[in-house]
């Protein structure tokens, strides 16, 4: 696959992309943080977005998940337009995300944090009736008829199942408040919460930031598992080793633009990518050194 992004993915685009982004742009005053980005993600793919500081990766995530509104371009989920939709709505459409450095609900227990992940799947206690829906929800929450209790119990069981993935790390702490957990555990809770949403599309923003090598390897294993189970994943990561091992494709951003796209090894040896990271000059000598070493 050529590293030149535009023409390559046209075929993927019309053949069942789960996520399809065209010409997405976001400006902040004089700075263009995201510049005319095109992106396609097929079901079951894991695509990583890499790039130096300030390249626009998290802004891109924010645009796709509704936390920010684009100045131009469009986003489609399974063909349906979702540009500019609110985060709440997108959660209901099956998009789950984690945040850079993690955002858990500090005063809620592990169980409660992950249960919030399943919020969009509540049916018995949250009827979709317009207008009086909220009041019905209040009434059902107070009365707790059998169907509501059953749903809550079922979800709690599910949460235990999700937490079991993390071995003994989270289950023994299931009722402890999230603020008391270690940093790595809090990031795990975040992922568990995302899984509770039963997402069609999972966006992970630097899931291993701040973790030591052991924790990183564990997280890498988890993401590989999720991919093997068929989850479609968009990943921002800096630990390029991990990126290479997990990704079907890698997209490189720099200064808001997509500068390369392709399989891991290709991208890593692409002169433009090396330049973006290391700067002009070193790339040449490093490339020369690699050639002599090869």
């Amino acid at each position: 696959m050529a590293a030149d992004g535009d023409s390559t993915n046209a075929s993927v685009a019309d053949h069942g992309s789960l996520l399809s982004v065209r010409g997405l742009t976001r400006r902040f005053g004089g700075l263009t943080a995201v510049d005319d980005i095109d992106l396609d993600l097929a079901k079951g793919e894991l695509v990583s977005i890499i790039g130096p500081n300030g390249a626009g990766k998290t802004t891109l995530f924010n645009l796709v998940t509704g936390l920010d509104r684009p100045d131009g371009g469009e986003v489609r989920l399974d063909g349906a337009p979702i540009t500019g939709y609110s985060p709440e709505k997108l959660a209901g459409s099956g998009i789950a995300r984690t945040f850079q450095l993690g955002r858990v609900f500090g005063n809620l227990s592990v169980m409660e944090n992950v249960l919030i992940g399943a919020h969009t799947r509540l049916r018995a206690v949250k009827p979709a009736t317009p207008l009086i829906g909220p009041l019905l929800e209040l009434g059902l929450a107070l009365l707790r008829p059998a169907a509501v209790r059953a749903e809550e119990e079922r979800l709690r069981e599910e949460v235990r199942g999700i937490l079991a993935r993390f071995g003994e790390r989270l289950l023994p702490r299931i009722d402890q408040p999230a603020y008391s957990l270690s940093y790595a555990n809090r990031r795990r809770v975040e992922i568990a919460r995302a899984l509770a949403l039963k997402p069609r599309l999972l966006l992970l923003d630097e899931p291993t930031a701040g973790m030591n090598p052991t924790e990183t390897t564990e997280m890498q294993g988890l993401v590989a598992e999720l991919k093997a189970e068929g989850l479609t994943i968009l990943l921002i990561e800096h630990k390029l080793d991990m990126v290479m091992r997990l990704s079907d494709r890698v997209i490189v951003m720099d200064e808001g633009k997509k500068i390369a796209e392709g399989a891991g090894e290709e991208v890593r040896n692409d002169a433009r990518v090396i330049e973006a990271y290391l700067g002009h000059g070193l790339s040449q000598s490093a490339a020369a050194a690699r050639e002599t070493a090869a």
Binding site: T65, L67, S86, P87, E88, A91, G92, A96, R97, F99, R103, V104, F105, G106, N107, L108, E112, N113, L115, I116, G117, H119, T120, L122, V125, K126, P134, L135, E137, L138, A141, L142, R144, E152, P177, Y179, R193, L197
Partner: protein, 607 residues
Amino acid sequence: MSSWLDYTINGLILGNVYALVAVGLALIFGVSRLINFAQGSIYLVGAYVGWVAVVALRTPLFITIILVAAIAALVGLIIERFGLRPLQNSVRIAPLLATIGISFVLDQIVMLTFSPNPRALPSQLPDIRFQIGTGTIGPLDILIACIGVTSALLLFVFLRYTKLGWAVRATAQDRDAAMQMGVDVNRVNQTVFGIAAALGGLSGMLVGMYYNQIDTAMSLHATLKGVVAEVVGGAGNVPGAVVGSLLLGLVESYGVAVFGTSYRNLFAFLLLIVVLVFRPNGLFASAKQAPPEPLTGTFIAPSRPVHIPRWALLVAFAAFALLPFLPVSSYVLQTLINAWLFAMLALSLTLVAGTIGQVSLGHAALLAIGAYTSALLSLDLSVPVSMSIVGGGLMSAALGTLLISPSFRLRGHYVSIATLAIGEIISLVILNWESVTHGPIGVSGIPPLSLFGFELVGVTSIYWFSFAVMVLLALLQVRLLGSHIGRSFRAIRDDDVAARAYGLSLNRYKALAFIFGGFAAGVSGGIAAHLYSYINHETFNTQQSILALTIVILGGLGNVAGAIAGSVALVGLPEVFRIAAEYRILIYGIVLLLLVRFRPQGLLGTI
């Protein structure tokens, strides 16, 4: 007969006075991202120091002005150094509560020293008027304009040409970068507070002279007006605050000209709400930008709530339920009835402020809505009292939520400002909507409490009634907290960005919180109405809102048992120790300050 020019001059002069308060608020917000709720209290201090100087010491005007500015500045410095600086690294809610507590304490100290009766504050200036076109101005107008302009010039020179002034501007723009230039941010905060206080104090003195009257109720309105002007001009924007103040002065002046004096404050508060909702950045910024976040960080102090074993709760319940059988005086029972009514308000506020993080400062308005609804339903429509109380609760839930909903899109301190203003608006509407509420006359002859047709005669039956209702509401709230709604509330409080990312609609759940809380508060108000048999627009006031807040902080934000325990403590103990009414509010303010400083999670912990 006043001409339009007169009203314009009046508006500009008034605007000048507001500018002195608003500029102080803007300076403080710019440097520390804090809305100083105590600004109005410093204004009050200025007015009374002015009185002492003019009436007691008979100092010449020039000396009076210097005295007021100096003493007010000193008060400001003390507030910053001892009230706020210790909270620098504390949770987000702490400085907000601290300035509220300080304002309470200051107001009470002034009131205790001088009595709440209004006093005259003569300006010592000759009572002549000069003709200008179709209007007139007097020496006081000129004085106010001079002080306004001089202060503005001095401030300008200070900020533009002195080292410390530069430090202030630099800190307001980028605190970290300023520190990296060697700026001592603490000193900057001190300076700014001193200046803001001096200006605020002068403003109070001038207003007192303008109306030849000062009284302790001036404080709250001064804060609100100052905040209105500051928000209109753009938070932290000093020239904007000046323009906003002049605008506010004119709006008020013309409003009074057209609608009458009783609507004066209504315009100011409505303007505030309109600006906060549509243009939170002020009139001079673009609509797209998000307003500066007033203080970031964790909202409440994370803590493990004190676990009260079930048997202890049952014992407490039994003890209070069986209390009337013991030989206790009816005085004790009456005190506890009062405590149960406050507990219902506290339950409501702890849900709204604690569980979902909307620190509402106008909660007493919900009491008022419930009280008036219940009174009028039973009086005018002959609805049985038990039903009308429920009606009061429902009306408070519905109307209260609707009126507070403009604040849902706001964050941090702005929520508190907005709810305070909305509370004042509701109070003013009650005062002015005479056809329904009977205006200042109030509603009298409200039927006594009765249940299923049986009148509740005697303290004991009323005690049991209010206790039962309180317990019922508390149990419902506990049930709510244990449901998915309870955890949704808490998720929104802890991190509303992450909450939205997982499908929680902020508006929906904030509304539900106010609906539930509004019902509890409305019921409390309704019961009070039938208990007192007479209510007017002053029965449910800001002091009760602040007392409720103190109870809630004492008990622990979001903590149901804490709300009840806190009510018994703060309503009951002052009675037990026979503390005079005037001192109680002072004590509440001090308690709030101590809690915020030393134990923000309260006695029983936040949930």
